[in-house]
Symmetry: C2
Subunit: 210 residues, 2 copies
Amino acid sequence: MSAPASGRRHSRDDVSRTALRLLDEYGLPDLTMRAIATSLDVQVSALYWHFPNKQSLLAAVSARILGPMDQVDVEDLPTSDVVRLLGGRLRECLLAYRDGAELVSSSLALGLVDSPVQSQLMRATRRDGVPDPLALVAAETVMHYVVGFTFHEQQRLSADALGLLDTETSLSPDAVSAPPEAGADFAEALTMIADGLDAAVRRHTARAGR
Amino acid sequence: MSAPASGRRHSRDDVSRTALRLLDEYGLPDLTMRAIATSLDVQVSALYWHFPNKQSLLAAVSARILGPMDQVDVEDLPTSDVVRLLGGRLRECLLAYRDGAELVSSSLALGLVDSPVQSQLMRATRRDGVPDPLALVAAETVMHYVVGFTFHEQQRLSADALGLLDTETSLSPDAVSAPPEAGADFAEALTMIADGLDAAVRRHTARAGR
DNA sequence: ACCTGAACACCGTTCAAGT
DNA sequence: ACCTGAACACCGTTCAAGT
């Protein structure tokens, strides 16, 4: 699986790929340098040849989690739909791995990873004639809201998964993998941001036209 | 300063007050149980009589940081102004202590502390006839955006403070304590959220009136 | 170029026992 | 009610040395 081709040793990608698998399997608190090294059949100190410290290794894992964001197709969609689409996709990316939102949240705050929303959103806003500064503000708002919301959501999911036997456990079969319908508020919030961007654009063009 | 009255020992409040002081002085990575205990002239294990674990101690510190949010005066201000006022105040609370945003961010995600925006915002929205569900979504959006933005901002400030001697250090005197003008984007984002809430309210009342 | 082996300087948490 | 003393089971990082 994560072993390199025979003859060569490990690569940076081997390390981050293995770390992502361990994250999903055991969670962020158990994602130690020792656990990663053991899984690669290597000494801990070997990891420091590939990465200068743990934080930059975690940044590489974050980039892997956010990878699918680049493939979102934004063509022939109005800006407000693009806001909703990118926000929804970002949430899906974060939920795809255990503790994904927490990990990405800190990598983003440390500035070790690029905005997962900005470049794609600006592709649409430039086409629609939205001023760049407004698009940047909207991109930041979407990013911070989605990451914060999903961080909170994912933490609640993990907590529920642990205390599942104490409370009412009889839901529909495989109710765990199916996203619960707290997603309605999430969609409403994205619409609010999209509408707010729209209002800002109208305000801007009105000022330019007087 | 943080010592209790003679005769009595320490209280929960002594501990969290001392922890907040150490946070501001040395930063979150150095806020260890051992450092807190040493500052209180006590053994580490003594802290576990007051708090079940470190995370709940940090939650008490977070609550202390968010304390001033309850004193925001919301009377005779329209809802959209209240959104901007609460968002701005929250940012100020987080910036008031070193690493405040990071600490509060995790306490909020863990659900160990109440929303610093919700109750105050709803005081205004109920008075203005805004439906509760919309107000809740707006409160979440403001909270997550402000915390995420300020987390990022504060991290950049700390990084700059360390690398200050390498780069151009000659700015205006005491340029550190004065908030730099990245706050313009912040205000624009809050206005976008306020406008988005406004649009949602109009959409709602239009549907009710047909 | 990539890794080993061993050490350093720490962590959070527990628990019997004291007063 | 509040704390001591000592231990347990870990951490991330460094560095000389190997191949």
